[in-house]
């Protein structure tokens, strides 16, 4: 795997230039060489996501078996060893920033970073030195160690695969394709089964069943043995844990009610928050239970951990600043006795009397580790670690991981984007439908363009640089859309400064480099595809023009579907990060870029693509997914 280089031109500047004047925009029209240059320049530098070094932003917490040592890794690259009793940092070092995960093996920690290009830093716990750095893949995250087998599994979120590494040599032992954006993983205690959560659904959004999947992998053979579809509407799969007996995998995710119009939030009408239980020996989903209460959402379930005795499962709720402590035995009994198992995922009181919701002290509880009688919860935004005694009672206590973070406006916006306490009854935050500030792969029937006409979720990246906003362009600007979102989706009234902060955050988002670039440049196929893209007889660039590949105008390209009105027109979407924003078209009916230009373009109205050879189609797709 070759690693993408990063970009060094401010997208904000460039896009602003492109949008600011028609002239600037025209510079790129029909000017292939300029485009090539631009793509290549852009592909070379800058971190793919802005990491503000000032923030620790803990993403992983691990506890040593002795219960006397904690390891915490922050997105900013800091990895520390903590004494939980005193809260003191015992050891500390820095690895490449944009840390995504950490795993502990015998005497060493494996820390994944997406920068520079998907690496694993191996830290020797005794010397507290980085012993080596291994190459993983684009979007490396969710490391899992099998000490006995000497294997490290790393999920490559951007290339949709799992890489198997030798823990000693760092040598790649194998690769397993998963479904889409693997972002969480856990290994059965016997090392036989790797359970991988695919963040968002793959495939067309107008299918009967649109849901993220959990991949079960035979770890030793490095091959997939089952793809378990979560209930219809499942997305944002963020946490996986396996019970000590290896029987159950616990998976946290959002369960979206995307088939109904978003008239209300009451009773989980839009998004519910779920825990799925997978029977590993049977390789099937046992059932899915809701973590919400009847009138209080438990937004954005994130991390999950199982106690050493398997009696209790702890789920962090990144949106509602709390954790759920769930008693396993009564839950499994109730599931077994459920008269209508199909109805269980729709019952808001299912966990009544077997789950305790505990508010943590900080903001952004994500990673969690259970050490002895306590759960340690890493709070991403407040740079803190809160411990909760699992048994009834006792107040959570908090260990700061550094000085209290002074949030910039941008950071505050990021917090609001994630914080469901803005929302009526805490059901959801912006991130719920925009995981990683991008897409959940679902079609939503928002009321901004009428009712009964669902549209596919759009990415927030560069949203402030393209207008009007939304598939129908119903909001003039992203600023207006942000405020409309607070009002009509969060059902909240918030101060203007909150919306302005969210604007700042969204404007700061930078596109990730495509994993399909080769050393930061277009591959040969993509280069061929680029020519086809700009070929007048094909006509892609006619509308997908300018720096962001959009004329920002509405068109009928023959994609009007049964839910649309005949007069409906759709704004040309920009193509930056098209490699990670599937599905495509306003109704998400094209599951892949290939479908987009083939099965979804039978009338040849969305560019003239029917005359292209399979090779040319491949090349065209290669170009678009390199953007």
């Amino acid at each position: 795997m070759k690693h993408a280089k990063t970009r060094n031109v401010s997208w904000k500047t460039l896009a602003g230039l492109a949008l600011g004047t028609g002239l600037a925009s025209m510079l790129f029209v029909g000017c292939q060489d300029r485009d090539v240059d631009r793509t290549e320049i852009l592909a070379k530098t800058v971190p793919i996501a802005p990491v503000e070094k000032a923030y620790f932003a803990p993403v992983a917490v691990l506890g040593a078996a002795d219960g006397k040592t904690l390891y915490v890794a922050g997105a900013n690259g800091r990895v520390v060893e903590l004494d939980p009793a005193s809260g003191q940092v015992v050891h500390s070092l820095t690895v490449p920033a944009e840390v995504t995960g950490m795993a502990a093996g015998a005497g060493q920690l494996f820390v994944t970073s997406v920068v520079p290009a998907g690496t694993v830093s191996v830290i020797d716990i005794k010397t507290w030195q980085v012993r080596s750095t291994m190459a993983a893949g684009a979007g490396a995250c969710a490391p899992v160690v099998d000490d006995k087998a000497g294997r490290l599994y790393v999920a490559n979120e951007f290339t949709n695969d799992i890489v198997v590494l030798d823990t000693h040599s760092g040598k790649e032992l194998g690769r397993v394709d998963v479904v889409r954006e693997p972002a969480s993983a856990a290994l059965s205690p016997d090392g036989a089964t790797l359970v991988v959560g695919n963040l968002v659904p793959a495939g067309p959004a107008n299918a009967d069943h649109v849901a993220a999947t959990v991949s079960l992998i035979d770890a030793r053979q490095a091959k997939t043995v089952a793809q378990i579809a979560l209930p219809n509407g499942s997305s944002s799969v963020r946490g996986v844990a396996v019970s000590p007996d290896g029987h159950w995998a616990w998976v946290t995710h959002v369960l979206s009610r995307y088939t109904v119009p978003t008239t209300q939030l009451e009773r989980g009408w839009m998004n519910t928050n779920a825990l799925s239980i997978i029977d590993l020996p049977a390789k099937k989903l046992l059932n899915t239970v809701l973590l919400d209460d009847v009138d209080r959402g438990a937004a954005n379930p994130w991390g999950v951990a199982v106690s050493a005795d398997g009696s209790c499962v702890v789920v962090t709720h990144g949106g509602s600043q709390e954790i759920s402590i769930i008693a396993v035995k009564p839950l499994l009994e109730k599931l077994n006795q459920a008269k209508a198992p199909d109805e269980v995922p729709n019952q808001l009181s299912f966990l009544l009397d077997m789950r305790r919701r505990v508010h943590v002290n900080g903001n952004g509880p994500r990673a969690v580790a259970i050490v002895g009688p306590k759960a340690y919860v890493a709070e991403y935004f407040t740079d803190s670690l809160t411990s909760v005694i699992l048994a009834e009672g006792g107040k959570p206590s908090t260990i700061p991981l550094g000085p209290e973070p002074q949030w910039t406006v941008r950071r505050r916006g990021e917090v609001y984007f994630h914080d469901a306490s803005l929302c009526f009854q805490g059901w959801q935050s912006c991130i719920t439908c925009h995981p990683n500030s991008r897409v959940d792969g679902l079609n939503w029937d928002l009321l901004n363009d009428g009712i009964g006409n669902p549209k596919n979720t759009k990415s927030m990246v560069l949203a402030h640089q393209t207008m009007p906003v939304g598939w129908m362009g119903v909001r003039e600007t992203a600023e207006k859309a942000v405020r409309a979102g607070i009002k009509y989706i969060q059902f909240a009234v918030r101060p203007e400064q909150d919306a302005a902060a969210i604007d700042e955050y969204l404007k700061s988002l930078t596109p990730a480099a495509s994993p399909f670039l080769v050393e930061g440049r277009l591959s040969d196929a993509a280069r061929r595809g680029q020519k086809i893209f700009h070929d007048e007889s094909v006509g892609c660039a006619h509308c997908h023009t300018g720096a962001l590949f959009t004329d920002q105008l509405s068109h009928d390209v023959g994609t009007i579907g049964s839910y649309d009105k005949p007069e409906d027109r759709f704004i040309t979407p920009m193509l930056i990060e098209a490699w990670r924003t599937a599905p495509y078209l306003h109704d998400g009916s094209a599951g892949t870029l290939r479908d987009l230009v083939t099965t979804s373009n039978k009338q040849d109205r969305h560019g003239r693509t029917s005359q292209l050879s399979p090779q040319q189609i491949d090349d065209l797709v290669a170009f678009v997914r390199s953007l």
Partner: protein, 1149 residues
């Protein structure tokens, strides 16, 4: 008002504690040997015991115990309650007869239980008293007990006092009448009225755990209720009714820092109460502005309304059949309230809990809408930090107190599934009882600090607190915990202490965005899958073809009645639109909408209209009916999963509904325009066409169970022959009574019985959900007969569906309330009076909405006093006026200048009345009267050291209701400075005390002449004198009352006069020489002036005079109900500019 604070007791208690408990293991010698004199309750108790020693008769002892209890309850309610807690409800009788110290030791042991080591020390102290052989009536026993109680009280109140250092509460009579609601005591009530004056708004403040109570506002002749504290803790909203007949409850707000009070809502004949601050700053309230009468009684109905912080833009949120009460804002911003409803079911049990968003959207059941238990859920509030609610479970034919419950909707929504009785926590059985919760102790108005600790209104003995007789107990404000541990916080000997609310800043609830678009007049409903949920359990998919959308009309007044009965009980039905056991209300079919194969439906309904749904099969017969209703706000999009789905479930994400594949469906009309379903207009023509050829027999007399009594081979009459029902005051038809199997009984109203032939759901059906196809057309033999072409009758599809609809609507006869009435002209007039009142208030509602849409600014009021020296005083009041205070005396020649809207309510000095003043220019210059001019005012009225003036804009409600439109104590001689204004042909010697203005100043004293209060209009001794009042704008008048001066023998009397109206018409009147009022009624006229002309007296001419003239009527802002014709309202700034909106959104009801 007595504060139960423990100041005095506390002082010596500190000393005592230092002695007894301060040093460990101190011996009995440290127990004080004498009781402090301050411990009066102890003395009272011991005196009572001594005096009772000679009483042998049990009844006498019981009587003495009762008296002792009452005396202590009044004198020291805290201690009185301690002894009930520690000694039991029978304590006082036991006390008077006890013969050893077991009782004292029991008290001490019980009180010490909660105190840990300190309690053990006190028990030890008591043991030492035993060992010392201390006598039974020795004060030391109760001293030790008092110490225990005091320590316990301190411990109990600690958390409360720390969290809520101040509470506001009200003192008022015990609310409730014949039912749990009905406390508006409306000034123009049709029947039941509850108003016992004597009230205060009070503040309880803690200092440590000591408390002190003071009155913020007292009114011996009024009632203050429903305090709510603003989220910033600075203001208290409350309702205040100052007089039984001359005022109604309206919202007021007090600034806690300044104690300044401002009135937010106005009007006579409508009650605005139970106001609650919304997190947006607006207010939600209950109001009787809907002008409805309860279906099963004679009493006014209140619904929920909202207005802004100043009382502006007041508009209706609920469009509900009977009462909705007790709105309270939950932390998540929802408003919860009690809704009493009984569409197509019995009235006793469905007083469940509802919720809405603050803008009125999202109205839906929250708890217990399909249950017998709890009978009524009242006084609900959220428990902070939880999704649970605290409330009072009470009954139907009861008042507003009952048992304390905690509701957890996540555990269930019906019966006792989510209800827990607390204080103490105990088993919560499902009880089916009308007067639930009325035995034993009583709770009301809880406010939870957390799940375990509350402030509550309470009485330990309940309604039977004296001699076993039902009395009106003096409820007290208590601290209470979930286990029933309690302490009295405030008590009063005369009235109950109610409605404790923390007077402090708290986190504002979630602010819900306003989703209502008042420019629209519809909303949409989306049903995901009608087959989901138990409502259509067992019904095969595909059965339901259509949803029928029905609305009900609500009665404006109660005239006539009949009765019904069934499994849910029985009731009278006032102004009945159906025979007994028929529908409660007239029904209007708004239309039908298709249900798709997948069970989905998506359709538009009129907004601000209560609608209910009936699932119809392919024949148009009802499979399931709603027996409740929903109401959408304009522009609201409401969704539901299915038919009565479990409220604790989420919409299943199975598929995208077919109904969403297109815009919302417009309702398909039901064979013609929307109309009330009238038997005479809908069914009789069908009978006439198909049935009466055979069914033409006159009913046998007496007609008893018409059909059941008929021989099988006889055809009963289906003719439209009228049948008068004296009690129901309706003219039914023979056919209607026959089909409804109605019996006519001596002196009693007709009452129908559902049969196999015509089978409908009883209006007394039980609250729980009925299975599909319980009754209705599908269960009615007559439909099968008709399907089979009975007697050759071939009904069209329309006729069949109409017939089925009549049965499924519960056999209504009247399409509206006046139809087929047998009312007297007076009753007709009475009904029309309330219909008109409803129309006016609905027009005001529309006008308020239009003002809100137009963002009409609030009128600005300025007051300036110009001194003769040229100095100007211009104090500030609120933006909408209010009290203007001046820091110096006025001088002769000073002028008061008012700037404001054309209609202002003014009061220019202490001791003078409030009056409505009209001025077309919005400016009034009032010369401060002095010298001779001052003689027509109370002495010193304009000579205060710190003069005060009150000015505010008049509210529309104050103009549109009947009053003396001639009143103006601030009229001045000469050219009008404002209206009404009086002039005359002559004024005796040009003296102010005989000026024309004196006849409209509100003073009717006529036994003297000269200075105030005997000022009058006194002309010279002439014939044909005239006196005239000029209203300055058109007013609608119909009555004149004159008080002629009767200072006989000085005075002479006119014997005739002519009323000359500005419209050119006249009326001749004959005058009498009496001192009392002389009232003349005439055909209503719209006039600008009224002249009392051609005043004739007998020769020789003498001194005739007019002390007061009252002209009754109302303003005519034609813009309200004739938006296209008048502009007066617009000109005076009372009606918003956006008149087109008013037109478009004309009152729907």
């Amino acid at each position: 008002m007595r504060s139960p604070g423990l100041h005095r007791r506390h002082l010596w208690m500190v000393v005592l504690l230092a002695l007894v408990c301060g040093g460990s293991g101190r011996a009995v010698a440290d127990v004080p040997t004498t009781a402090p004199a301050a411990l009066s309750w102890s003395q009272t108790l011991r005196d009572g015991w001594r005096q009772c020693q000679d009483k042998k008769d049990a009844a006498a002892v019981a009587g003495a115990a009762q008296e002792l209890s009452i005396r202590l309850e009044t004198a020291d309610p805290v201690a009185w309650d301690w002894m009930l807690q520690d000694g039991g409800l029978d304590f006082y009788r036991q006390w008077l007869t006890h013969t050893d110290t077991a009782l004292e030791r029991g008290l001490i042991a019980h009180a010490a239980e909660e105190l840990g080591p300190a309690g053990a020390a006190l028990v030890h102290a008591a043991e030492q008293l035993v060992q010392a052989g201390v006598a039974l009536d020795d004060p030391r026993w109760l001293d030790v007990y008092a110490q225990a109680c005091t320590q316990r009280r301190r411990a109990r109140l600690q958390a409360l006092a720390a969290a809520w250092p101040a509470l506001v509460f009200t003192r008022h009579f015990n609310m409730g009448g014949s039912h749990y609601a009905y406390t508006e005591g409306q000034s123009d009530a049709q029947a039941e009225r509850h108003f016992i004056p004597g009230t205060a708004l009070c503040l309880l403040e803690f200092n440590g755990t000591e408390s002190h109570v003071r009155s913020l506002l007292e009114d011996p002749t009024g009632v203050i209720r429903d305090p709510d504290v603003s989220y910033d803790g600075r203001r208290v909203l409350f309702a205040w009714k100052k007089s039984e007949r001359q005022d109604d409850y309206h919202l007021y707000e007090m600034d806690l820092a300044t104690r300044g009070v401002r009135q937010l809502t106005f009007g006579l004949g409508m009650a605005d109460y139970e106001g609650a601050y919304l997190p947006s700053g607006d207010i939600v309230l209950s109001s009787t502005r809907c002008v409805q009468s309860v279906d099963c009684w004679w009493t006014e109905v209140s619904n929920l309304y909202t207005c802004d912080k100043d009382g502006r833009f007041l508009r209706r949120l609920g469009f509900d059949q009977v009462h909705t009460n007790y709105p309270a804002v939950l932390e998540d911003g929802r408003v919860t309230y009690t809704r009493w409803e009984y569409n197509d079911r019995g009235q006793i049990f469905p007083q469940g809990l509802f919720q809405m968003n603050p803008d009125g959207t999202g109205q839906t059941a929250l708890y217990g809408n399909n249950t017998f238990f709890p009978t009524t859920i009242a006084h609900t509030r959220g428990i902070p930090g939880t999704h649970k609610l605290i409330a009072v479970a009470s009954g139907h034919h009861t008042r507003q107190a009952g048992k304390l419950i905690v509701i957890d909707p996540s555990k269930g929504r019906q019966e006792n599934t989510g209800v827990q009785l607390v204080a103490p926590v105990r088993e919560t059985p499902n009880v089916r009882q009308d007067a639930y919760g009325q035995q034993g102790d009583l709770f009301a108005y809880p406010y939870a600090l957390n799940e375990k600790q509350y402030v509550v209104t309470y009485h330990p003995l309940g309604w039977t607190s004296r001699h076993g007789q039902e009395v009106d107990p003096r409820f007290k404000l208590y601290y209470m915990d979930a286990d029933g541990r309690r302490e009295v916080l405030a008590a009063d000997a005369r009235t109950s202490c109610n409605q404790g609310v923390p007077a402090m800043a708290r986190t504002a609830a979630h602010v819900h965005p306003i989703a209502v678009d008042y420019r629209q007049d519809t909303g949409t409903f989306y049903v995901q899958d009608i087959y989901a949920g138990p409502g259509l359990a067992g019904v095969p998919r595909g059965t339901i073809k259509k949803l029928r959308v029905v609305t009900m009309e609500f009665r404006a007044a109660a005239i006539g009645n009949n009765s019904n009965g069934g499994v849910a009980g029985g009731a009278m039905s006032s102004t009945p639109p159906s025979t007994g056991n028929g529908a409660w209300d007239p029904k209007v079919i708004l239309g039908t909408t298709p249900v798709r194969d997948d069970g989905s439906a998506f359709f538009t309904v009129p907004a601000r209209t209560p609608v209910y749904f009936q699932a119809l099969d392919e024949k148009g017969y009802v499979v399931q009916t709603m027996r409740s209703w929903s109401t959408l706000q304009p522009g609201e999009n409401a969704s539901c999963v299915g038919c009565h789905e479990d409220k604790n479930s989420v919409p299943p994400p199975y598929h995208r509904a077919q109904a969403l594949n297109g815009p919302p469906a417009e309702l398909e009309p039901f064979y013609g325009p929307r109309r009330g379903f009238s038997f005479a207009r809908e069914i009789q023509p069908i009978l006439d066409r198909h049935c009466i050829a055979c069914h033409d027999q006159i009913m046998p007399e007496p007609r008893t169970h018409a059909m059941a009594g008929m021989p099988a081979n006889k055809s009963f009459s289906l003719l439209a022959t009228p049948v008068l029902d004296h009690q129901a005051k309706r003219c039914w038809s023979a056919s209607y009574l026959a089909l409804t199997n109605s019996s006519e009984r001596e002196e009693r109203a007709c009452r129908g019985q559902s049969t196999d032939l015509v089978n409908w759901i009883s209006p007394q059906s039980a609250p729980p959900m009925l299975p599909p196809y319980t009754a209705g057309a599908a269960r009615s033999g007559i439909m099968k007969l008709l399907e089979g072409g009975h007697g050759g009758a071939r009904l069209s599809r329309q006729e069949m569906e109409t017939f089925a609809a009549w049965i499924d609507l519960l056999v209504p006869f009247c399409g509206d309330y006046p139809e087929a009435n047998a009312w007297t002209p007076e009753e007709v007039a009475r009904y029309e009076h309330f219909v008109e009142k409803r129309r006016v208030l609905s027009a005001i509602d529309q006008s308020n909405i239009a003002a809100m849409l137009a963002a009409t600014p609030a009128p600005v009021i300025q007051v300036e006093v110009q001194m003769p020296s040229g100095r100007k005083l211009a104090p500030q009041a609120g933006p909408n006026g209010g009290e203007f205070t001046f820091d110096q005396r006025w001088e002769p020649g000073s002028r008061i200048v008012l700037h404001g809207p054309s209609y202002m309510i003014i009061r220019l000095a202490d001791g003078l009345p409030e009056s409505l003043l009209y001025t077309p220019t919005g400016q009034v210059v009032f010369p401060v009267p002095s010298g001779k001019e001052g003689k027509v005012y109370p002495p010193g009225a304009f000579a205060a050291d710190r003069p005060r003036i009150w000015v505010r804009p008049a509210a529309v409600e104050e103009l549109l209701f009947r009053r003396n439109v001639a009143l103006n104590p601030y009229d001045v001689r000469g050219p009008a400075v404002g209206f009404p204004h009086a002039t005359a042909s002559s004024e005796c010697r040009d003296e102010p005390v005989f000026a024309a203005r004196n006849a409209i100043d509100g003073m009717v004293e006529n036994r003297h002449h000269g200075s105030w209060p005997a000022e009058s209009w006194g002309p010279e001794q002439v014939q044909n004198a005239w006196w005239q009042v000029d209203f300055g704008r058109p007013v609608l008048v119909d009555t004149l009352t004159l008080y002629l001066r009767a200072d006989f023998p000085h005075d002479h009397t006119w014997h005739a006069a002519v009323l000359e109206f500005s419209d050119g018409t006249t009326e001749n009147v004959v005058l009498q020489n009496i001192a009392g009022p002389q009232t003349f009624t005439f055909k209503p006229r719209q006039v600008t002036t009224l002249r009392l002309g051609k005043l004739l007296q007998n020769e020789p001419l003498g001194w005739c005079a007019l002390s007061e003239a009252e002209v009754f009527g109302q303003d005519v802002p034609a813009t309200f109900w004739h938006p296209m014709t008048g502009t007066g309202g617009k000109d005076v700034g009372l009606v918003p500019a956006a008149l087109e909106t008013v037109t478009n959104g004309a009152p729907r009801r």
